[in-house]
Symmetry: C2
Subunit: 428 residues, 2 copies
């Protein structure tokens, strides 16, 4: 039994504090579960004198990155977040032959392949369960438990902030700005919420999941992305009448030899479990050709859930160190083309504001027909008598994105159409 | 790179056929994912001449167990099911220093600790992801991904047959016998359905999950078990009116230093995801002190989903063999006392058939009061005018099982009570 596994923590924020606390309070349990004691040797912080919730021996703290990772270190746990300096520190740690555990979705989405190769070359591993879905096991199930499958799709709600906002808009009829403000008050959204509401965070996570599921490298730039700020409370009401919830869905789906990868607000049939995942919860549904649909659900963020994932990786790395043997190198073996969004075929929800007079529908229907987009249903919604306008909600049969976008351009220019309120994709 | 990993299959039934097919059809993919080719060397069958869906080279088949496992074998995959001869063959394979992959819940529930110790002693491993929940990853998440947590509860729907029957009774108002007969026609229930409907199958699986979750050994005999045959269609109707679904729930819950472990029909609040798991689907919810509640859901049985789990373990064992190092031995470290069911404290649903006349409730209420069981609500349900009887549904506040059972005995003997229709536990 190795006497001791030495751990260095980079960052002592919300998650770092949780990890440091777990290592201290659960030392006996973890040593039993690993077969060696886990020693926290150093913690890299920005400000040595800051007040912190977790009380650590001040001599463990350093603000010098080089000092933090030098000497006798087995596992480097990176919890700084953001691309820099995290990326450089991780690369440095792997180069020195250390195991790395990270919660960093941006670094893994952008530099995953390079870092995984480097780890393999050095006979160590980089583990990143905490980078997606907080406390929900999802990286390890994709790498291990579903590895006998050919995966056909990943469909996920992986941003708690937006799911909270959408849940409030749907349940309480709030408009986007009010729901966002309430999320900010509760600490679910940041002062600058761009990263969440525009779908960047979900795209990083989808890049990580899709890369694993399809054994290829999908980067954030491969993902078509739309945020949630264009949604209105009545879109949720109309969707519900049609039997759908609206979720910011991250989708990666194989179609022949190419792959759709996209993050956007999506109509999800109400009877599906994903439609019932509300509030800050996350859920990931994987469809394999053997397993069928498997769903993982739980807390996607927060200090303790993320600590659960980080510590699972730390315990795993520690066991690998204690037991010997080279970790299995993850390989991106497949070449998969990214399918342009223009070629997507799905159903669409289109909300239009039109002039309230007889015969309006004829011109609109003609525009759809011109592009061979077939209308499944049209419902006339509330009218604004003062403005003499009405609202139409159109659901199409499956159609090509390209044709639907061209239809939208033509419809928008019709004299009887005031504006296109929203155009959303459906994922049945 | 090890040239080849040699595999022996014990059993070529529904799952064995799936595994043999996957090994043959996906040879190239699996060899890439493992770093060695996987060779199916022999298959133990009962009848050499039987017609089979999967076409294998007849020279691979043997009906001699000793011949099957001798020679150059790395991994023995046991898919015979049942305690014997599987248990002896697994022990023999581990004794010879081979990795074992099994889907055998009965063997793992009864003999898990012994087999895990033997594997550790021999420097190999026994993997059993397919023993619970078919294609849903659950053993590996408990062993690895949630291992930094102290688990407080496992709540699971882990028998697809009974969940199908309960779903039909609930949705379509079928009585138990009709729903069972339909399940049998569809191949979801066996000709002798005892093992499923009396909860034995769920108890084996709960024993496996609880042993992992609580790092202790829970055997099938530790589990209090009640089947579903006493449920009536109207129990589902009444439960729904009260806001509950009825599920055959397998529950393991820590209370202080002791553990409740039980399988019985249970009222589950409708807003919980577990209440929405219908048909042959399985779901397992684990609550950890760091992770919070995490839910895993998917197909709990069937050839392909079970093949997914068996092959994940085979690939994992093959990687361990290729990469070297000793597998981490699972340790049952904790002593946990089993809490008698008599000490359970929860809410109860009690359905009574009573004489339909004024004042009946007074005697019944007195019986509850005598045992300090507090009534939360009483609803009078349909009356049978011919028999001059009525039905009462009583929900209690949280009460001790012992007191509720004593109340039931006293109530049953009241002259105004015709019978106790059902007494079910609630799990909020």
């Amino acid at each position: 039994m190795a006497a001791q596994v030495n751990i260095v923590l980079l960052g002592l924020g919300v998650v770092g504090g949780g990890v440091a606390g777990a290592l201290r309070e659960r030392a006996d349990t973890y040593s039993q579960r690993v077969g060696a004691s886990l020693a926290l040797r150093r913690v890299l912080v920005r400000h040595l004198d800051k007040e912190r919730a977790v009380k650590l021996d001040p001599s463990l703290l350093t603000d010098d990155a080089e000092e933090a990772v030098s000497g006798d270190v087995d596992i480097v746990v990176e919890l700084l977040g953001g691309e820099h300096p995290a990326y450089g520190l991780i690369r440095d740690a792997l180069s020195r032959g250390r195991y790395v555990v990270t919660a960093n979705k941006e670094v893994m989405a952008k530099h995953g392949p390079e870092l995984l190769s480097l780890a393999a070359e050095k006979g160590v591993d980089i583990l990143y369960e905490a980078s997606v879905g907080g406390g929900i096991p999802i990286i390890s199930p994709l790498k291990r438990d579903l590895s006998a499958n050919e995966i056909s799709s990943v469909r996920a709600i992986i941003n708690g902030t937006t799911n909270y906002i959408l849940t409030r808009m749907s349940r309480d009829g709030l408009d986007f700005a009010t729901a966002l403000a309430q999320a900010q008050q509760l600490g679910y959204a940041e002062a600058d919420p761009t990263n969440d509401i525009d779908g960047h965070d979900a795209a990083y996570k989808l890049a990580i999941l899709a890369s694993l599921a399809f054994h290829t490298h999908i980067g954030p730039d491969d993902i078509r992305r739309e945020g949630i700020s264009g949604l209105a409370a009545r879109d949720f009401r109309y969707a519900r009448e049609l039997g759908y919830a609206i979720k910011l869905l991250a989708v990666a789906r194989r179609e022949g030899s190419s792959l759709q990868v996209r993050v956007h607000p999506t109509l999800v049939p109400e009877e599906q479990l994903l439609a019932k995942v509300d509030g800050v919860l996350n859920a990931v549904q994987i469809e394999g050709d053997l397993s069928g649909r498997v769903l993982f659900q739980g807390a996607g963020a927060g200090s303790l859930p993320t600590t659960s994932a980080v510590m699972a990786d730390v315990l795993d790395a520690a066991r690998a160190i204690v037991q010997g043997g080279r970790p299995f190198p993850w390989r991106y073996t497949d070449e998969v083309a990214i399918k342009p969004l223009a070629e997507l075929v799905t159903r669409y929800y289109i909300r239009l504001e039109v002039v309230d007079r007889p015969g309006v529908l004829a011109g609109i229907a003609r525009a759809f027909g011109d592009h061979e987009v077939s209308i499944a249903s049209v419902i006339q919604k509330e009218t604004d008598e003062a403005a003499q306008t009405a609202e139409l909600v159109i659901m199409t049969h499956p159609a090509r994105e390209e044709a639907v976008q061209a239809t939208a351009v033509q419809v928008r220019d019709l004299p009887e159409v005031v504006s296109i309120g929203n155009l959303l994709r459906v994922d049945d």
